[in-house]
Subunit: 388 residues, 2 copies
């Protein structure tokens, strides 16, 4: 068809989503079309929900929505938000800022806890906000701030606080669920949202959302939504169906992706993500580069690295893309031009990290940044060796 | 993997969506993942929009949303609906009833024109409703009522009326755009919505929506939405991008599907749908069955047929599915158990119609309905012969 199209040549997608999709997952999309109101779909849907609950560590209800992660965020907020409902949102980057905006747009009152970029909210900051704004409908934490590569620690303690204050605990886990430990029930998370195209190694287009009994109490008192109506989803789930025509081929892909996660096991998966991230951080530091996030909150799924003086974002990423066919992301909002971000997600392994570290080293060197070639690769390899 | 899974054996999907996906479209989803903020995506996105505008017959803005058709309906309504905005909706089946519900749920005031099931609204009914309810924000017509197999005629005249009354004209063309003539600009349609999984022969998960300059005037005065914010879509379109992570693999499929439509040409395509539908109606009548829709409003993309006395819906469709591997749909709402519906969409051809007619004849005969075997097939074949 279009042999000259750049689409046809595979790239290493080291973005913080979408990420590389394993061949097994891609090939699953070749299954023939089925009736979304038939037995075949219902059986697959039941299996997907069961496996997704394993990944989420939850016995709560769980739904797969046919839309982007952002639609998942809208579903989470819209279903608990009556006019003026107060929702506390710690803001430490572009995605948490957008979450706050969503709350205000969707009729709620977003209460911001401003947090320095590169850092995460503390438990006592959340406690202060809860005390000052009572009654609060929910605390919403972006577990992994994709824009800055920061993971918020102490979610379990924030969950306990929420229970004490009789407040819902919402977690946006879009760029992290399935890559790093996040046991929804154990940590008291009432609503947890993720996207298909991150650590679940499925193409983009699906959002997953879990809903606790405590959340249902609020949802039932909230004005019904239309496309994002979770009550309708629950009603159709009784028959293992979905209110509207689901994105069937993406369900095929998710089904396969979740099956692969079960085969690997969550523990092994978390270890793999951690080792790959640590290797990438080690490579960066061996090149004399600084991660953007403070050490104690550094993400294991998004590695954000500051550019050294003299290295221009577009030139760096452009060269990496055209010469090495590796895609990494730039900064967003205030960090635009100041950082680049490497996604450590889904099927990521030593191969992808070594290829990326090598290429980053070469491009920086080519662009005139002084470094001892080979040091980055050596540092990364050491992390992998120790982990074996 | 799961060799025993019924997913692995191909069925003939004669549903009113999703429908059979051509191999070229399915295979397009094998393209490797790309950066949705990169050149590859922008080039493909520009091509998709250009080809979709050809299918819609429009020079207006057009957007592809990563959600089901129902999400497309929400986008259409939410973006023009301020509190209490009056929207007239002729209701002649389940999908038009849902559209009316959407208007009321999303803050508007739905004004129903009740229409007998199996029939379509008339121009004078719309005119009366416009005169009685002035000022009206929009008239919303479900061009093809999927639940009853009825296509509303005289859209052009309704469009003229809307212009005269300075009212927006919304058309839900989900189960028909790309299969039957619907020139958006020529007929004065301000907002037109369709889904990927119907006549565009792409898997489900995308909605397409066109927006006229007159619609933008209203949209700009309407409170901003979040996931369905068309103003944000327009802003990102300047750079050929999409506000949120799009369902990339479904875009690959849509790209290929639209390319195939261009290769075939709209005229040939419309003729093919019409011939296939006429053959299906002829087969039904040769078996002594009655179409549900009145003759003058019968849809060319959804053929709805009344069951003869003594034929039970579940038994009929179950046998068709298990013995002939052909999926057709049942009735919805008030017609549940009374009709079956055959989708005539996308890649449909003589082969699928002949297979369906033959199988329907056999199953009815097996279930004890008296007919002269062979008559249905003969009648259908005659339609195809004449059309050549």
């Amino acid at each position: 068809m279009r042999d000259d199209s750049p689409l046809e040549t595979k790239k290493l997608i080291m973005l913080p989503g979408p990420t590389n999709v394993p061949a097994r997952v891609t090939n699953a999309m070749l299954r023939p079309m089925i009736n979304h109101r038939g037995r075949e779909f219902r059986e697959m849907h039941a299996r997907i929900i069961q496996n997704a609950k394993y990944v989420f560590g939850t016995k709560n209800d769980l739904f797969v929505l046919s839309n982007s992660g952002t639609g998942g965020v809208e579903a989470a907020v819209r279903n608990i938000c009556s006019s003026g409902s107060k929702i506390i949102v710690p803001v430490n980057g572009e995605f948490s800022r957008r979450f706050l905006e969503a709350v205000n747009l969707l009729g709620g009152k977003g209460i911001e806890i401003p947090v320095e970029l590169g850092n995460a909210v503390t438990v006592s900051q959340v406690e202060d906000a809860l005390n000052q704004n009572s009654p609060v409908t929910a605390v919403a934490v972006i577990y992994n701030e994709t824009a800055t590569g920061v993971t918020t620690p102490n979610l379990r303690q924030i969950g306990e606080l929420c229970r004490k204050h009789n407040t819902l605990f919402l977690v946006d886990a879009i760029s992290i669920q399935g890559g790093v430990e996040l046991p929804v029930d154990e940590w008291g998370i009432d609503i947890c949202v993720t996207g298909s195209q991150k650590c679940l190694m499925t193409p983009p287009g699906l959002a997953l959302i879990s809903v606790s009994p405590k959340a249902w109490e609020i949802i039932r008192k909230t004005p019904r939504s239309y496309y994002f109506d979770l009550q309708l989803c629950k009603q159709f789930m009784e028959n293992n169906e979905i209110p509207y025509t689901p994105a069937v081929t993406l369900f095929y892909a998710l089904d396969e992706g979740l099956q692969m996660i079960r085969e690997e096991g969550l523990e092994a998966r978390f270890k793999r993500h951690t080792t790959c991230a640590n290797a990438m951080y080690a490579a960066a530091e061996a090149m004399g580069l600084q991660p953007f996030a403070r050490r104690e909150v550094r993400s294991k799924t998004v590695v954000a690295i500051k550019y050294p003086n003299g290295i221009e974002d577009k030139k760096f990423r452009g060269t990496l893309d055209s010469q090495y066919r590796i895609a990494v992301a730039g900064g967003m909002g205030k960090t635009k031009g100041q950082i680049f971000r490497v996604g450590i997600m889904g099927s990521v392994s030593e191969f992808e990290i070594m290829a990326t570290a090598t290429a980053v080293e070469s491009v920086l060197s080519e662009l005139g940044y002084g470094l001892n070639t080979g040091e980055a690769v050596k540092a990364a390899r050491e992390v992998f060796s120790k982990a074996k």
